[in-house]
């Protein structure tokens, strides 16, 4: 059952893709000219079909591009945040024809399981999942500062205004959790593992909407989650301490029926449900089979992807994987050779696993950094093969939650320096996510310091290329 990527399966899916591609809306590049004559040599022939170690989708037909499911079906978002800015040319928008000044050593992009879509050769596993995601190659905002661009991408707003706007995570936490009556102890907007900083947070909505940064390392023997798993304290010691606390508290033993202390005891019970009970086990990766942990990659990023899957499985609406290390001004290509395989495995496993569990239809996976990196490689010292900040043109990836998969939105020019067609601004992407989550674009956001603020900017307030209707 797990060996479904045989040549028959591939052919079938290719035919389906073709049939499907003919039905898609104009302007959407489902497949390029190679559609009819894909050359076997460009296939990732060296890749074992099931290298992920996860079962493949039982139905080979699932390799055809995922059709859109319509708005309002998504329940959760997993944001894969490549902090620092991943190079678009070395991920989802390769430009081998532009020559080594642009593509560096990555000259041989690979075909994906959707004919006509090529991605960087360092991403063979993601190449097998291309039917599940859409690539946006025409992201743009023109801002080259880390903090300001991160703010722009996650709020859709230009920095420097009177109000600090909340990020997508805080907004989703509001509509899908708090406004829906969520009362749980684990905040609904979770960041694995380190916080992103003050421009990527709750903005004017206030501290209730701030992300909960887990801290710790999900790849460590014990994933120390802030407040839930104390580093170096075993479960047995937690239980013994609780016992000790109850025997060494004369005020409580004499006044246990005091209403104040009864409320405290109730609060404590709930806290221990998280520390010792089932609720906190969402972070316990020892519950996962070794094969699954291996499939995601035994590194912090891979295991974060696995935690993210467990979180959405239990109903958490927004998980950010804050994945740093992409700010490669120098030593760019050697860094990519170590980082891209990690990223490739973690994201591919996440997509496959979500799909296998039937969660991909309700879970949006959004892959992006704050910007791309300069298309032209800087070979001068001290950079000697580096790429710098580039907000004029970059790429993003969207999967699941009802979005169409197996397609490309927009196009960059021959060197990836400018958007050639269909510009997508941050607000376009965010608004599209709202739509899929069923968040009314006319809604307002709570503002404890004044009148409620409209979710969407008024027309003309920010630049826009329009909502991604081609993916819906």
């Amino acid at each position: 059952m797990s060996m479904r990527h045989g040549s028959d399966g591939k052919d079938l899916s290719r035919r389906d893709a073709l049939r499907y591609g003919l039905m898609t809306a104009a302007g959407l590049v489902v497949a390029g000219p190679r559609l009819f004559g894909a050359q076997p040599a460009t296939q990732p022939a060296t890749l074992p079909p099931n290298v992920l170690g996860l079962p493949d989708s039982p139905d080979p037909a699932s390799a055809k591009p995922r059709p859109p499911l319509g708005k309002g079906k998504a329940k959760a978002v997993i944001q894969i945040w490549l902090w620092g800015g991943p190079a678009h040319l070395d991920t989802f928008d390769p430009k081998p024809e532009a020559g080594p000044d642009y593509c560096g050593p990555f000259e041989k992009p690979i075909e994906t399981n959707v004919p006509g879509i090529r991605i960087c050769e360092m991403l063979p596993l993601l190449a097998q999942q291309a039917d599940k995601y859409a690539i946006i190659r025409s992201m743009t905002h023109g801002n080259d500062g880390h903090e300001t661009a991160a703010y722009l991408v996650q709020t859709g707003r230009e920095p420097g205004g009177k109000l600090v706007y909340p990020s997508l995570g805080a907004i989703v936490a509001h509509f899908k959790a708090f406004a829906a009556g969520y009362k749980g102890l684990i905040p609904p907007y979770i960041v694995l593992t380190q916080p992103q900083g003050r421009f990527s947070e709750a903005g004017f909505m206030g501290p209730k909407y701030k992300p909960f940064a887990t801290g710790g390392d999900p790849n460590a023997a014990q994933f120390a989650v802030e407040g839930i798993v104390a580093a170096g304290v075993t479960r047995q010691r937690q239980e013994a301490r609780r016992e000790l606390l109850h025997t060494l508290d004369p005020v409580r033993s004499m006044l246990g029926d005091d209403p104040e202390l009864a409320a405290l005891s109730e609060a404590e019970k709930q806290a221990y449900d998280l520390i010792l009970g089932d609720e906190g086990k969402v972070f316990d990766l020892s519950e996962e089979p070794d094969a699954v942990r291996l499939a995601y990659g035994r590194n912090t990023f891979g295991q974060s992807c696995l935690v993210a899957r467990r979180l959405v499985e239990r109903g958490f609406p927004y998980v950010t994987i804050n994945y740093g290390g992409w700010d490669t001004h120098s030593n760019h290509f050697p860094t990519m050779r170590t980082k891209l395989p990690q990223m490739d495995r973690g994201v591919a496993a996440l997509l496959q696993d979500l799909s296998n569990r039937g969660l991909l239809d309700t879970t949006i996976v959004w892959w992006s950094g704050e910007f791309g990196r300069t298309p032209k490689v800087d070979y001068k010292p001290p950079w000697t093969g580096g790429r710098h900040h580039y907000g004029r043109c970059f790429c993003a990836m969207l999967a699941g939650g009802g979005f169409r998969g197996g397609c490309v939105v927009g196009e960059s020019d021959a060197t990836g320096s400018n958007v050639k067609s269909r510009p997508v601004y941050p607000i376009d992407l965010l608004a599209s996510i709202y739509e899929m989550l069923g968040i009314d674009l006319n809604a307002t956001l709570p503002n404890p310091n004044g009148a409620p603020v409209p979710l969407m900017p008024s027309p003309g307030e920010v630049r826009s290329g329009g909502i991604l209707t081609e993916l819906m």
Binding site: G227, I228, L244, D249, P250, V251
Partner: protein, 526 residues
């Protein structure tokens, strides 16, 4: 057979008793209350106990010395006693040592720091929205409040200076009274004055009464200067005088105000007059509430005819005392703190539903957010980082500063938010949220914030590494964290924990510190 069994059981009963013998023997139930403490009965006690007798409520016992020393430090100066201070007080054999301690604490600088914090809550001292005093004015205003309390400025003068002030928000700090309110129109000012100094909610008054009081505040001028965020508040002699004819005090009497006269002075003189029924009542009731956890009129800032005092005689007595002492607030603190009523144990002797409202025991209250984090820092030898990112340039508070000394309600931390520090938006006492929440409990039980303090704090580490045996070190930890000696039974339980093998060496001491920090005894005023 029978005889043998009998002997054995007697033996078994005697063993734990023998184990209790030793220098630190205090029966567990005597930790909170004391049998033989001499606290003279005061006039407050005569009034309170007479009322309790009428209701058939038995008052609690007097609290133990160890409870008293901790309670007095926390209530008077918002600060834990050091182990040395606890030892000194417990070893003191003078019969009036409680009185002496109260006098000492009322002279400490922390008294002014702690009560400046309380007053800054009432007066809404906050740089940002919705008060918008802005940082420089906040610093000046807080400094003025602190200095007034440290100098024990008579209360009538303290209030009159604010109400009649004119000048720059930087140079005449008390003018910030007129800036620290959400609505600055005459009605808004009147409501703030009524709430702050009369303990009453003027928005519930008939409209004519509020408008008549507002008339006194119709001639306030405000202007900007070239200094960033400086404002001048003044009596605007050029302003229209047509509203003055409608001016009436809240008791209905109508003054005559000449156009040259600042109407705020006319109002202030009425307010602080000894015959004014509101002025003394509000402040003595607030002080009672602050120290005792419950107002004689409760809520203390909701005084109205249909919310009567639980003990009118007590309130009248305190009002009279304050006026007779020329508005010396420390006199009222002394009267309350030295009473047996204040020194009752937190263990009620009666389950009567009116026991709390009639002060039959000292009610448990969780430490305020600011006092709690200071206490955690004090016992562990750690600090907090406070800063304000808006407006730029950032403000950074020196780390050695206490949290109770934070001037600005806008400068906060996740801990302070979680533990319900008042936002200083309205000045209502109910802004403080001391309800226990699961998130708070989780934070104390299991966060890295607290774990780091316990495992890495210099002060608590020094105790853990002092090299004595477990009993000696544990005794020091008890003095440090819960301000008392451990009982024999407690030490025996700790030794059993150490023997159980679940934790070893330093971990046992860390677990003891964790236990004491999470105990109700540490977290609550008791």
């Amino acid at each position: 057979m029978f005889r043998l069994a009998f002997t054995t059981s007697i033996f078994a009963m005697l063993l734990p008793l023998a184990a209790l013998a030793g220098p630190a023997t205090i029966p567990a139930h005597r930790i909170l209350a004391a049998d033989a403490v001499q606290v003279p009965e005061t006039q407050i006690d005569k009034i309170v106990f007479a009322r309790l007798a009428e209701l058939g409520i038995k008052p609690a016992e007097i609290c133990s010395d160890a409870v008293f020393v901790r309670r007095a430090y926390l209530d008077v100066i918002g600060t834990l006693p050091s182990p040395a201070e606890v030892r000194e007080f417990l070893a003191d054999n003078r019969p009036d040592k409680r009185r002496a301690l109260i006098d000492h604490l009322l002279q400490r600088d922390e008294f002014a720091l702690y009560w400046a914090m309380k007053w800054s809550n009432v007066l809404r001292v906050k740089a940002e929205f919705p008060i918008n005093l802005w940082p420089n004015a906040v610093q000046a205003y807080h400094r003025w409040i602190f200095a007034s309390i440290r100098a024990n400025k008579p209360y009538d003068r303290f209030v009159r200076e604010m109400l009649t002030s004119s000048g720059s928000s930087f140079r005449v700090p008390e003018v910030n009274f007129y800036r620290a309110m959400q609505s600055k129109d005459p009605q808004g000012v009147a409501q703030a004055v009524a709430l702050t100094f009369m303990g009453t909610r003027a928005e519930k008054w008939p409209k004519e009464r509020l408008d008549a009081m507002a008339a006194f505040f119709t001639r306030i001028g405000r202007k900007k200067t070239t200094e960033w965020k400086e404002e001048i508040v003044f009596f605007d002699i050029t302003s229209p005088t047509d509203k003055l004819a409608a001016a009436a005090f809240p008791d209905g009497t109508r003054p005559t105000i000449s156009p040259e006269q600042d109407p705020r002075e006319v109002f202030a003189d009425w307010l602080i007059s000894p015959s004014n029924p509101w002025f003394a009542r509000n402040i003595v009731n607030r002080i009672w509430f602050w120290l005792q956890g419950r107002g004689i009129i409760h809520e203390p800032d909701d005084i109205r005819p249909d919310n009567p005092p639980s003990n009118p005689q007590l309130l009248a007595y305190l009002e009279k005392e304050l006026v007779a002492a020329n508005w010396d607030l420390k006199h009222i603190y002394r009267l309350i703190l030295n009473s047996r009523t204040y020194q009752l144990s937190c263990v009620p002797a009666s389950k009567h539903p009116e026991a709390l409202a009639n002060f039959a025991y000292y009610p448990l209250r969780r430490l305020e957010a600011e006092v709690l984090i200071d206490a955690l820092n004090q016992i562990t030898g750690t600090t907090e980082k406070y800063s304000s990112p808006i407006p730029e340039p950032f403000t950074f508070i020196p780390e050695e500063n206490r949290t109770i000394s934070l001037a600005d309600g806008s400068i906060t931390s996740p801990f302070l938010e979680m533990f319900g520090r008042p936002p200083r938006d309205t000045g209502l006492e109910s802004e403080r949220n001391n309800r226990p929440s699961p998130a708070q409990r989780l934070h104390l039980l299991n966060s890295t914030h607290i774990q780091r303090k316990i495992e890495q704090g210099r002060r608590i580490q020094a105790v853990m590494q002092s090299g004595g045996n477990l009993r000696k070190t544990a005794t020091e930890m008890y003095l440090l964290i819960v301000s008392r000696f451990p009982t024999e039974e407690e030490l025996a339980r700790l030794e059993a924990y150490a023997r159980s093998g679940v934790a070893s060496g330093r971990e046992v001491l860390i677990d003891l510190a964790w236990t004491l920090v999470n105990s109700t005894e540490f977290l609550y005023r008791h």
